[in-house]
Symmetry: C2
Subunit: 222 residues, 2 copies
DNA sequence: TTGCATTTCAAACGCATGTATGAAACTATG
DNA sequence: CATAGTTTCATACATGCGTTTGAAATGCAA
């Protein structure tokens, strides 16, 4: 007999419905019907619809962030305080990609909910995402320790690109799948992570500043 | 004296309001008030709210696609039918980035509208985006001509990552700006394009298949 | 001008939504 | 058992939305 049965029934029904059908066309009435509770229960337990959504998103975000930080800490422990570049990147993008991609029938409701949250940007979630930066700072700090000679700018761009590739692959996996006519295997989660990590590691470690400035000159000469 | 004054007044008012405040909280009543026309005019001229949004988005998309294809054609003309990898990538990401980033006060309403369209995913726009693949196919074809020895999979992933970096930089420019505490200059549009092109060109041309399979073995041995 | 088609307008419709209310049912403590 | 606190419930409220209506205004050809 679970404490607060109603509350958790609402949470799980809401998560499932939002994951399946998106935020736009799921109403409180849909949720309470699925949860088999009274309409007023949502406002009683959560205050408002937005606070319900926020609670769902915060819970899942915290879980992902915890996973990321665990991987990061482990990588830094192995390297004696200075983690490998690829390990940092893997800690950053791995948990999210693993959670959100893979065979359809294996994707958890939680993961599908997070995909929705990233596709349909809804006010309560946007507000929370804005506070995500403190968490990211831990990764830029780790990267700074790992590549002390690299310029700050390059570090940020490298991490940003890693997140961009991972995130956009999750958002747009369907488009890539159609575009490539199935050539790109979106179910090979670890392969995808490898690709993202490899490309962003190259971006971080590979290019010499000389090339960049040469390009700059070429452009300005135009 | 423009023909169909009402129609175009609605279009430009709607574009400006959507650009400024997002799709979520701009109503038809807001639009007709800004355009100084009657409420019923929207349905008379466009049929529905969704069709109005669709028309706005289609117009702007076509313009961007045209720009992209012009750059691509030019690049292929220079190379005698076989464009340079970097030129293809530049044609793909350049127009969008140029349109959507840069100093705030220089960004056109059209560009800000397209940013909104990419951040807040709304049904009529989603439907249109799904037909975008035919356009992308021209770029994968060009890339295939440019890198005939490269595997199909790598080509698609490379192009996808290029779009991912460009797109996500536009979407999340604010986050990167805060995260890097202003270190990353989001106003340096051409510099951003250079970075995106450089990284994705490296991804396309750089890594040898040997490394990838080595990684695969390492992972499976784990 | 007459007559017809197009466009504008004020007003209302219908509906779905999130939220509030107040009574009833339940739970647990003394 | 009694009673105070919590939770559930049916129901109603208020509002804002996109859309429709039908009449008035306007433009334009004959």
């Amino acid at each position: 007999m679970p404490t607060d049965h109603t509350r958790s029934a609402i949470l799980s029904a809401a998560e499932r419905l939002y994951a399946d059908r998106g935020f736009a066309d799921v109403t409180l009435r849909d949720i309470v019907a699925a949860a088999d509770v009274n309409l007023a229960a949502v406002n009683y337990h959560f205050g408002s619809k937005d606070e319900l959504i926020a609670e769902l998103f915060v819970t899942r975000s915290l879980a992902t962030n915890r996973e990321r930080l665990n991987e990061l800490k482990e990588a830094e422990a192995v390297g004696g305080g200075r983690a490998d570049v690829e390990a940092i990147l893997r800690a950053l993008v791995g948990p999210t990609v693993r959670g959100c991609l893979g065979p359809n029938n294996e994707r958890s409701t939680a993961a599908r909910f997070m995909i929705r949250a990233s596709i349909e940007s809804v006010p309560p979630i946007r507000r929370i995402k804005n506070r995500e930066i403190d968490h990211l700072r831990k990764f830029s700090a780790a990267m700074r320790r790992s590549l002390p000679d690299r310029s700050e700018v390059d570090l940020y761009w490298g991490l940003h690109f890693a997140l961009a590739m991972a995130h956009q692959t999750i958002r747009d996996s369907e488009r890539l799948s159609k575009w490539s006519e199935g050539t790109c295997d979106l179910n090979d989660v670890e392969g995808i992570i490898d690709r993202v990590v490899a490309v962003s590691a190259m971006a971080l470690a590979g290019s010499e500043p000389a090339k960049a400035s040469a390009k700059l000159v070429a452009r300005e000469a135009r």
